[in-house]
């Protein structure tokens, strides 16, 4: 993040705190401001989590309803964006549980990738193809995809990601390491098999 980005993020956070204060007092116009400011971030994160535009839109709605009900509960210990994305994360877990699509992601933490088959230097040329990289990100298991998204799309610090996902910071780093291994493997497959590994 450059200085301008940092300043913009800080300004946005100050405005959002003011809106939250008004929302806690029942001000729907403040909620509308808040909604328009955070809709994009919440929707994109939700889409990463559920991979379905309809479910992502539902998560946005549920997240903003929670903001309306729980604005007074925001204690200011984190950035507002971190707080609102953590609501989205929790709501996504609920949604995925309801849809019984959550199974299968639990064992991802211990997922082993065959590094030997695709060494990092070999795949770096493949990493220059942004489309390949995005395809590989999409193929990551849910929990690793969350961490990659929050890091590079939302540009959150790793302690903030830990807050959003409600996990220790070590878990965030571990998921990112696993994501790296998967990305290297996936990009290596592109090199081996051309356009469709």
């Amino acid at each position: 993040m450059n200085d301008a980005t940092v300043m913009n993020a800080a300004d946005a956070d100050v405005a959002a705190r003011s809106w939250l204060n008004d929302i806690a007092g029942g001000d729907q116009r403040a909620l509308e401001h808040f909604y328009r400011e955070y809709h994009g971030a919440v929707y994109q994160f939700a889409l990463r989590l559920v991979r379905n535009p309809a479910d992502a839109a539902e998560l946005v709605n549920e997240t903003m309803l929670e903001v309306w009900k729980a604005a007074s509960g925001f204690r200011g210990g984190s950035r507002v964006k971190t707080w609102v994305l953590s609501i989205t994360s929790h709501r996504a877990v609920d949604l995925l549980r309801r849809k019984k699509r959550h199974s299968g992601s639990v064992e991802i933490e211990d997922d082993i990738v065959d590094h030997a088959a695709c060494a990092l230097p070999d795949v770096l040329s493949g990493a220059e193809n942004a489309r390949h990289v995005r395809t590989c990100i999409e193929r990551l298991p849910e929990r690793q995809r969350q961490v990659v998204h929050l890091t590079f799309f939302e540009q959150l610090a790793y302690p903030e990601i830990a807050q959003v996902l409600d996990v220790p910071t070590g878990t965030v780093k571990t998921r990112m390491m696993h994501a790296k291994a998967k990305l290297v493997h996936c990009l290596g497959s592109f090199l081996s098999h051309g356009e469709s590994p």
Binding site: Y43, R131, I137, F152
Partner: protein, 194 residues
């Protein structure tokens, strides 16, 4: 190991001490520099994705949420002022009942006919009928009544109409009183019955 912090070195969120530790490893290790290139490529790919725009469902999404909030919000309570007015009217009716009971015994011929002006309109008052707007607060209604030098003497009817007794000292005639009341924002309609 600082290598594990590379993604956050790339997104610029590491505190200075951790960023410097990463830079020391970068200076020493070709493997770490290779991994840096990987994360930079990931960051570029995500940035390109951001630049292509996100689904613009904000407007519809907000309309949906606003509708839900409206549905969940209780309607403004008309009951508070209406109950107060009703309580006042009950008191008036109670007093009138006693009065009429006594009048009936003493002055049976004075019982007023159905459709005549309700008891309670004095000689120095005009009888006016008004209907207040939905959502009018008790304070707003009291303010209008005070400004008109009026008081509630009956109502509300099934149509929400109240009978007012308005001071003749305030208005030259009943039509003027009705016009003035009709012009007040909290009054939906004001008429001077014949």
């Amino acid at each position: 190991m600082s290598q594990e912090l590379l993604p956050w070195y790339v997104n610029g969120t590491l505190p200075p001490a951790e960023a410097q530790a990463v830079e020391r490893e970068l200076a020493q290790s070709e493997v770490v520099r290779g991994e840096l290139r990987l994360w930079q490529a990931v960051a570029r790919a995500v940035e390109e994705e951001r630049a292509t725009g996100i689904a613009d469902g904000a407007e519809l999404g907000w309309l949906r949420l606003a509708r839900q909030l409206r549905a969940a919000t209780p309607r403004p309570r008309r009951a508070r002022w209406q109950m107060t007015a009703a309580a006042a009217l009950l008191a008036v009716i109670g007093v009138q009942s006693v009065f009429l009971y006594r009048s009936d015994r003493a002055h049976r011929e004075e019982i007023r006919q159905l459709g005549a002006a309700p008891a309670g309109v004095r000689e120095n008052e005009w009888r006016i009928q008004v209907r207040f707007r939905d959502g009018a607060t008790l304070a707003e209604i009291e303010s209008v009544l005070a400004a008109a030098e009026a008081r509630v003497i009956d109502g509300p009817s099934a149509l929400g109409i109240y009978e007012l007794a308005v001071s003749r000292a305030r208005f030259a005639d009943a039509q003027a009183a009705a016009r003035w009341l009709s012009e007040q924002p909290v009054v939906a309609q004001g008429t001077a019955p014949p």
